[in-house]
């Protein structure tokens, strides 16, 4: 193609400058919306610059101009062709009561699989400690060191110790729980990229710890204490971590693509919004669980009757089941 380069550049330069200036405005102020006329002009400038790039691409003498135009086109292309669904107004309530439960139900099979893996782990842990009580020290991580002793002694000490810890101490304990549990849930999701192996190991190990603690307390005749201690925060914390596993298994399923014809890129793209919704929901649940565990679960009889704690935990569990199982069903059907 033979073009008069001097004339071409002189003619086109004002359009390129205008496109660059529009892009700068859009990129500086993300919330700025273009009026219809501005949009039309923006699209015209993009078309014109793209056409200029096609012409310049054939000229050896203008690699810099070509790179400049490529850079402009790349930026404009990202703005113009980004037509994937964009939620204009985010409603936290609608998200919590509708989007989160619907997302959870869409991938409920992965959730049940996570539950099954955790249960297998719990059974394994339970059997291990039932057959060999010494296994407790080998299985429990360092942060559960307080549970290594005799459960009856711990219960007696907790019930004797009537002095409530300071609010500051409870706050830092709560923060520590939130950080740890949210970290575990994120890892459960992220390890999905190991074809799900990491997620399965994490869920199984969590189950083992749960099984060890439960069997240990039940065997010591401290079932009521166990329920009163675990249920208030565990009824939210455990499902949240299992939901982290659910997200990890979704990721693994997209990575493996068993029985799916779509490409890896399409599979990942399809689950991305759901993964984000789930992990945000999990974080929210674990913040609540952290607060409950620090400010409620640590109080025992006679300060707080176990029946109250158990009732509180069961109420939470029922509400969570209602939220995840029923909310947003009408909107789903519509």
């Amino acid at each position: 193609m033979i073009i008069d380069l001097k004339k071409f550049v002189a003619n086109e330069r004002p359009y390129w400058t205008e496109l660059e200036s529009t892009l700068n405005q859009i990129e500086t102020n993300d919330r700025r919306t273009l009026a219809l006329d501005e949009l039309r002009r923006f699209h015209y400038l993009y078309d014109r610059t793209a056409s200029g790039l096609a012409k310049v691409s054939s000229l050896a003498a203008e690699p810099d101009t070509r790179r400049y135009l490529e850079s402009l086109i790349a930026r404009a292309y990202g703005e113009i062709h980004e037509t994937r669904d964009r939620q204009h107004r985010f409603s936290p309530l609608l998200w919590f009561l509708q989007t989160l439960p619907q997302t959870f139900r869409r991938h409920v099979r992965a959730f049940w699989l996570s539950v099954a893996i955790t249960m297998i782990g719990a059974l394994f842990g339970g059997f291990a400690i039932a057959l060999d009580p010494e296994a407790k020290a080998a299985v429990m991580p360092e942060m559960f060191a307080s549970h290594l002793g005799d459960p009856s002694e711990r219960v007696a000490q907790e019930e004797r110790d009537k002095d409530a810890p300071s609010a500051g101490h409870m706050s830092s304990f709560s923060a520590q729980l939130m950080v740890n549990n949210i970290g575990v849930s994120i890892k459960a999701m992220a390890f999905g990229m190991t074809w799900g192996i990491g997620t399965i190991i994490l869920l199984f190990y969590n189950g083992v710890i749960l099984g060890v603690v439960c069997v240990d307390y039940v065997a010591a005749g401290q079932t009521t204490f166990l329920l009163g201690w675990l249920l208030p925060h565990g009824s939210i914390e455990l499902p949240a971590i299992i939901m982290g596993g659910q997200a990890g298994l979704m990721l693994a399923s997209a990575l493996i693509g068993w029985g799916q014809r779509s490409t890896l890129r399409v599979r990942f793209r399809a689950i991305a919004p759901d993964l984000t919704t789930l992990i945000a929901g999990i974080a929210l649940m674990l913040v609540w669980a952290g607060l409950v565990e620090a400010f409620f679960s640590q109080y025992h009889e006679p300060t707080l009757p176990y029946v109250v704690k158990i009732a509180f935990g069961l109420t939470e569990l029922v509400l969570l089941c209602l939220l995840l199982g029923r909310c947003g069903k009408m909107a789903e059907g519509a």
Partner: protein, 267 residues
């Protein structure tokens, strides 16, 4: 699947443009800068909280723990979300995260690529992510793969300083404008850039390698367009290549774009 250094995008209008993909080293350096920033912010917060700890013991520790966690996870998410794929480290290194199709990232993509750092950073210093980056076709770590994102380089575009190469020198090719025009048509952008880079780096070359290199390049251009013999008389291969570059990059001296005209705007 062969490794590629560019992200080629064909628009629906049929225009093809390319973006350079960032390599593991530049990405690691960008991460290092971000890590230092997060570390400094954490230390600053910790120092402020020491004062709070005097009046509210325990609360300061709680806030510190939560802030550290939020900073560690939220830094990348917030910057890439609100600054269009650029953290401070990436901005310094002129990198940007974009969708694998060249589009803007969606919030879910930002969140996923940042949360999957937990697996990329295993066992230490992003070893898993680094290996994935080296192995994958588009230099993607696992987080990028799951989020369908790539990290591209934003080239600093400046007009080559031709004056230091050919200022005040007589260009014998200029006596044959029709052959110059043919040369401009037949030489590709890559060939022109190669000749220019050879000239820019000529002083760094070993004398023998320099003669051999310019002999090769001159022969290559001579095969494309044959100029009359008198044009070539008395000039070295290097001078000939200099003339070719002058012809290619400066078809008309009044027609040059200034660096300001060609410099891309970096958001």
């Amino acid at each position: 699947m062969s490794k590629t250094s560019t992200l080629l995008i064909r628009t629906p209008e049929g225009i093809v443009f390319s973006q350079l993909l960032a390599g593991p080293m530049s990405r690691f350096l960008a991460w290092l800068i971000d890590f230092c920033i997060v570390l400094c912010a954490t230390i600053a917060v910790a120092m402020l909280l020491t004062l709070l700890d005097l009046v509210a013991q325990g609360f300061a520790q709680a806030i510190g723990m939560l802030l550290q966690f939020v900073l560690m996870i939220g830094y990348g998410i917030c910057f890439e979300w609100f600054k269009r794929g650029q953290t401070i480290g990436k901005r310094v290194l002129r990198l940007r995260v974009v969708d694998v199709q060249g589009l803007r990232m969606k919030p879910s993509q930002v969140v996923i690529r940042n949360l999957l750092r937990f697996v990329d950073m295993l066992p230490v210093f992003y070893l898993v992510g680094g290996i994935a980056c080296v192995v994958s076709r588009r230099s993607q770590r696992l987080g990028d793969l799951a989020a369908n994102t790539v990290v591209v380089r934003i080239p600093r575009i400046t007009e080559p300083d031709l004056d230091q190469l050919a200022s005040g020198k007589f260009n014998s090719l200029r006596s044959h404008p029709h052959l110059e025009a043919r040369l401009r048509q037949r030489v590709t952008a890559q060939e022109a850039a190669l000749a220019l880079h050879a000239l820019v780096r000529r002083d760094a070359l070993d004398p023998q390698a320099r003669v051999a290199l310019f002999d090769d390049i001159a022969k290559h251009f001579q095969a494309k367009v044959q100029f009359p013999a008198e044009t070539m008389e008395g000039i070295t291969d290097e001078q000939y290549v200099r003339n070719v570059v002058d012809t290619l990059y400066r078809p008309n001296r009044s027609n040059r774009l200034t660096p300001a005209d060609t410099a891309p705007c970096v958001a």
